[in-house]
């Protein structure tokens, strides 16, 4: 009877790392260049924060309206903001928009974004919802950047950043650029990079928490 709530609640209550990586998965396909992934992180962050904010506002007013209606509202809001992000990106950064393709519109159904939005719509206080969204978005951006840097360095031998002044934006790593491992830029490279990063993060979190064998 509870629609998205079950999976969402499950995701939210589970290992936060799991939630983070599940939200990141669709975007992994475009994490082949550092610059593209920075734009993607920005888009995710904006959509996440905006939809969480507005969902929690909606949640304040729609307290008694039923789970299905709240879910629909949060979904609608997320889709609107994903559309806005797509249009704005196309307007301000056409190259990035072309590189990101349909992965920005797909933020409309990103598990992390819709999960946070639905939780906010269920009545989470605005401030707390915002902080959680910000934290998730920044964490996601960090993981994303690491993966993209690794994939681009190994797969192309370069690191692409924003062009500033005379700096064209591309750092060439000579030994890697001479013989790059192109498979790092394919889907298998993305999955492997994400898998090992998730393992590293799990290890660090466990160390930090002091638990473990």
């Amino acid at each position: 009877m509870k629609q998205g709530s079950e999976i969402v609640r499950g995701l939210a209550s589970e290992n936060p790392l799991f939630v983070l990586f599940m939200g990141m998965c669709p975007a992994l396909a475009v994490s082949t260049r550092l610059l593209t992934s920075l734009w993607m992180s920005l888009a995710i962050l904006c959509v996440l924060v905006a939809s969480t904010l507005f969902s929690s506002i909606v949640g304040l007013f729609a307290r008694g309206k039923g789970a299905r209606a709240r879910w629909l509202a949060s979904l609608f809001l997320t889709a609107c903001f994903a559309t806005c992000a797509d249009l704005l990106l196309g307007f301000f950064a056409a190259d990035a928009h072309a590189a990101l393709g349909l992965y920005v519109p797909l933020l409309a159904v990103n598990c992390l974004v819709t999960g946070r939005a639905e939780m906010a719509a269920r009545g989470q206080p605005v401030g707390r919802a915002l902080l959680a969204a910000l934290g998730a978005g920044l964490g996601l951006a960090a993981c994303f950047t690491v993966i993209a840097a690794a994939r681009e360095a190994l797969g192309f031998g370069t690191l692409t950043l924003f062009p500033v002044g005379r700096f064209t934006g591309t750092l060439v790593i000579a030994p890697l650029a001479a013989s790059p491992a192109r498979a790092a830029t394919f889907a298998c490279g993305g999955f492997l990079a994400a898998g090992y990063l998730a393992a590293l993060a799990a290890r660090l979190l466990r160390r930090g928490a002091g638990s473990g064998p």
Binding site: Q3, G4, A79, A108, V109, C111, G195
Partner: protein, 208 residues
């Protein structure tokens, strides 16, 4: 694109999970029980085909005449939500035990990146001047993509059931190992590419 090319492209060459990296959530958290995996796969296939068809209808009958193409994402998402609701209601009436037995939530299956991804691909693909595939093509594309997801779900489910975690470092347990398995599966699936399709099509005398 011929039917042969359409089906092979959506099912294998541009496999939703292993090539486009969408719909990874249900696959990675893949249930070890094959029945659940098959259930989710079939539901995904049905959802993808219906959503593609609905998207075609919305795109050509509603958005294009009104000039509201930029609203397509919102429209598609709402359509998918509606489909999820109908699907859940229908399954609840016709096969009440089915939903419980397969243990999935229809909206989690319906409103996910994979379905929207296929819908958007269908909207951009095709040769019609208005952009996008025709109605029957959309239906078949969605069904093929869903079959691709079913295949991956079944393979990953069997692989996960076989994994022996006794000697795997603790940090790799669960999500990381699933992602790495998906990565190796993606490596193997690189066998399916457009060159293969082009050669097979020319062999069979079909346009690719």
């Amino acid at each position: 694109m011929s039917w042969f090319g359409l089906i092979l492209t959506f099912a294998l060459i541009d496999n939703v999970v292993l090539v486009q990296m969408l719909g990874v959530c249900p696959c990675i958290g893949a249930p070890r029980r094959m029945g659940t995996a098959v259930g989710i796969g079939i539901a995904t296939a049905v959802m993808m085909s219906l959503a593609s068809l609905a998207a075609w209808a919305i795109r050509t009958q509603v958005l294009a005449p009104l000039g509201l193409e930029y609203m397509q994402i919102v429209a598609y998402v709402l359509a998918m939500a509606g489909l999820a609701w109908m699907f859940e209601a229908a399954a609840g009436r016709l096969a009440p035990g089915l939903l419980r037995a397969t243990g999935f939530s229809a909206s989690g299956v319906a409103v996910n990146c994979a379905v929207l991804g296929v819908v958007l691909l269908g909207a951009r693909g095709g040769a019609s001047p208005g952009g996008g595939l025709g109605p029957l093509q959309s239906l078949v594309a969605g069904l093929s993509a869903g079959c691709g997801v079913l295949l991956v779900l079944v393979l990953l489910s069997a692989i996960r059931a076989r994994l022996d975690l006794e000697w795997v470092p603790r940090a790799l347990h669960g999500l990381p190992l699933s992602l790495i398995s998906a990565g190796l599966l993606a490596l193997a699936f690189m066998a399916f590419d457009r060159a293969l399709l082009a050669r097979l099509a020319s062999l069979l005398g079909l346009p690719s």
